[in-house]
Symmetry: C2
Subunit: 426 residues, 2 copies
């Protein structure tokens, strides 16, 4: 039997879930792994949160108390944000303690620095809980599929946006209605930007694609587009043509070319990711030998994320030595890697145009002139105030050429508005 | 950089896939993990298989050559079957080499013995490839979700039967037609018993439920029923009522009660397992904190299974010490565990009865007398030669009471045949 004393910094949702799990399943962890995991100290600036949950002898008033406690070997950081979390974690690792964190923004932005501090001090830095809650994707990338070249990773990795898009699809809500409901239920923040504009998914994709491709993919190299412009028209088009709209995080690697992007996507209904609904998330990988692999589970929430934290605590406690990710280029894109912006995709486009003769010819000729082949072209019979909607789906094309075409279409006198441009995956 | 020299015993499908992967991705494994994995020796009694694939200097004529080679630290066993594989693996571990195997039958039947030899000799025994091909389920059970009490594990874990059932469902084939096609394509053996009668799934469930529940679940404690009696009538019933038929391996644990069973199941169409088709497999877990998690991928085949083998080779090579599964009771059911045979389920029953007055009343009264509540009861309008089919779906009932009821129904003079009894999961 081995005793492990831990501290928890942050008694919010995930901190609370972690506390509950370590308390409820203490004996199970002891009997299964011979580990007696004890919560020795809990730090939070909100006295009320501590009073509600934590035993008086566990309450702690300052980071220094944790740093000075030589019995504590693992510290769980679930306060979130870049600072003071980075300063805290750095000091913790410098004091010889390992860190388990759920902080995707911090890992994404400061991974190279933190990894260096961990290595210098011979301690562990674990962050399974930073990506996709209870889905064991980081362990899988580190400890499974090691023989494969991972060719692509595609994920529904943000719970809030998947909840909103599911409500829009299944109950016909507008984006605004679905967001308001998500906020009421606590699935979305009062300021929902981090989720709905794709920042959260972007941070996670940075971490996951770096691990999958064994090279640093900074979040700044990721194309990012959120779901705020997705409309019922787009969802209805998908329903009528066999697609669902999901916010996908996509990473692909071929030789030294890497493409990484987060955007709403029309994905074919029979794709395994299309049926991942509500608060569930999933990551779909393709390796050159293993072929397709998908991991599915709850992407957020106190208990699933707490489960990932506790998994890391046990994993860390049983490790005799820690393994470090090598950032050969200090957190920048490696010199031999080419981040591709002119990737291939299919596109769905929704235009509002004047209802007069010659419009279809002038629009279709722009696509043709630029060599973008059209799979589907429909002008609705439904006219309103002299304008009509046109929906177009292209065959596989190049991003740059599609953007050039859209620029030319936007400048046509007959085009009132380009309402939607959504990439498509069959 | 670390050099690891391996031997492969068995140059069949999986051995060939492993050989190809280690050859094709040698440099990738070296650059990502600092591991130079070299195939030093390959043993197979079939000279032709060796000649087709293996370099002359790798060809090896006897196990003794491998045992005597001190440079070889890991041996991949992919010959299959219990003997001589057990004798080979035992000698290999006694010679101080670690073993990576895909042999589910051997692990399931001789795990305690083999684990003891591994522990005594301080070597590794790894078998990710033994369960569900390229799906990293064993690593997930060992290295993730450790904090959770796993409450249930349900899986489509046999590729052959899932292929046959998918063909029967999607193309209306009979069982015999689908089996013949599976045999033609190499998905099913000439003697298909191990797959279609559920032995393969039973061995895998024994391994997976032992790991999930942290207690030994011998394969002999598993209820097993294959797919040979599944008919188009059953599949049509499922289609009409919102279910798909899958061969499920099911393990559940509640306190000290464990139920483990392999049988055809009508599973609700909206369950994530229902859409796992063809050669794909999946394992669906539920933990008390993580909630639902599913892992999906190719359950068999040279390359996906080779990927799992190579994952274990790399994992083993990077380990500084090995962890052993504790079989406190020498491979038997632990004294504190109760294997439950009288579990709860819903049931679908297809009867052929005489077409005459009073039949419905006499059949329904038997269910009522035994306290089994009926959700759905349909006598077809279609009569043939004085007999008619009746289909029944029960509410949640107990296995023993349903079997007692079926025994009484079988003895009614008006009942010609009980055609199908299939358990149902919503």
């Amino acid at each position: 039997m081995k005793t492990v004393k831990v501290a928890i910094i942050g008694m919010g949702t995930v901190g609370g879930g972690t506390y509950d799990l370590l308390t409820a399943n203490h004996d199970k962890i002891l009997s299964s792994y011979g580990l007696d995991v004890q919560i020795k100290k809990v730090l939070d600036k909100d006295e009320q949160k501590l009073a509600n949950k934590v035993k008086p002898e566990q309450v702690c008033r300052s980071l220094d108390e944790i740093l000075a406690d030589e019995e504590i070997s693992i510290v769980v950081e679930v306060m979130g944000g870049v600072e003071p979390a980075k300063t805290f974690i750095t000091k913790i690792m410098q004091s010889g303690k390992s860190v388990v964190t759920a902080n995707k923004e911090l890992i994404s932005k400061q991974w190279a620095d933190l990894e260096r501090v961990a290595r210098e001090n011979g301690v562990g830095l674990y962050f399974e809980a930073s990506c996709v809650g209870g889905v064991p994707i980081i362990r899988t990338l580190n400890e499974s599929l090691q023989g494969d070249n991972i060719k692509s990773i595609m994920g529904i990795i943000n719970g809030t946006t998947n909840y909103i898009l599911t409500k829009m699809t299944e109950e016909g809500m507008s984006y605004e209605q679905a967001l308001a409901q998500a906020q009421q239920l606590g699935y979305a923040e009062f300021n929902p930007t981090a989720d709905v504009d794709g920042y959260d998914a972007m941070y996670k994709l940075s971490i996951l694609s770096s691990l999958a491709f064994h090279t640093c993919i900074p979040y700044t190299s990721i194309y990012r587009e959120g779901i705020t412009k997705v409309s019922q028209d787009d969802i209805t088009f998908g329903k009528n043509t066999g697609y669902k709209i999901k916010l996908l995080a996509i990473g692909k690697k071929k030789d030294n070319d890497v493409e990484v992007r987060v955007h709403p996507t029309l994905i074919a209904e029979n794709h395994p990711l299309a049926s991942v609904s509500g608060a569930f998330n999933a990551v779909f990988l393709n390796g050159d030998f293993v072929d397709d692999v998908m991991l599915y589970g709850r992407g957020a929430g106190a208990y699933p994320t707490g489960s990932a934290i506790v998994s890391d605590v046990i994993y860390c406690a049983l490790k005799t030595s820690h393994v470090y990710t090598d950032f050969e280029n200090d957190g920048k894109v490696s010199e031999d890697i080419n981040i591709v912006s002119d990737y291939e995709s299919k596109y769905y486009v929704n235009l509002i145009v004047d209802d007069k003769p010659g419009v279809i010819a002038s629009i279709s000729s722009v696509w043709g002139k630029n060599g973008v082949s059209i799979k589907f072209f429909n002008q609705s019979a439904f006219t309103q105030n002299d304008y009509v909607p046109i929906v177009i789906m292209t065959h596989t094309s190049n991003e740059n050429m599609v953007q050039k075409t859209l620029g030319e279409i936007a400048s046509l006198p007959c085009v009132r508005e380009i309402r939607s441009v959504i990439r498509v995956i069959d």
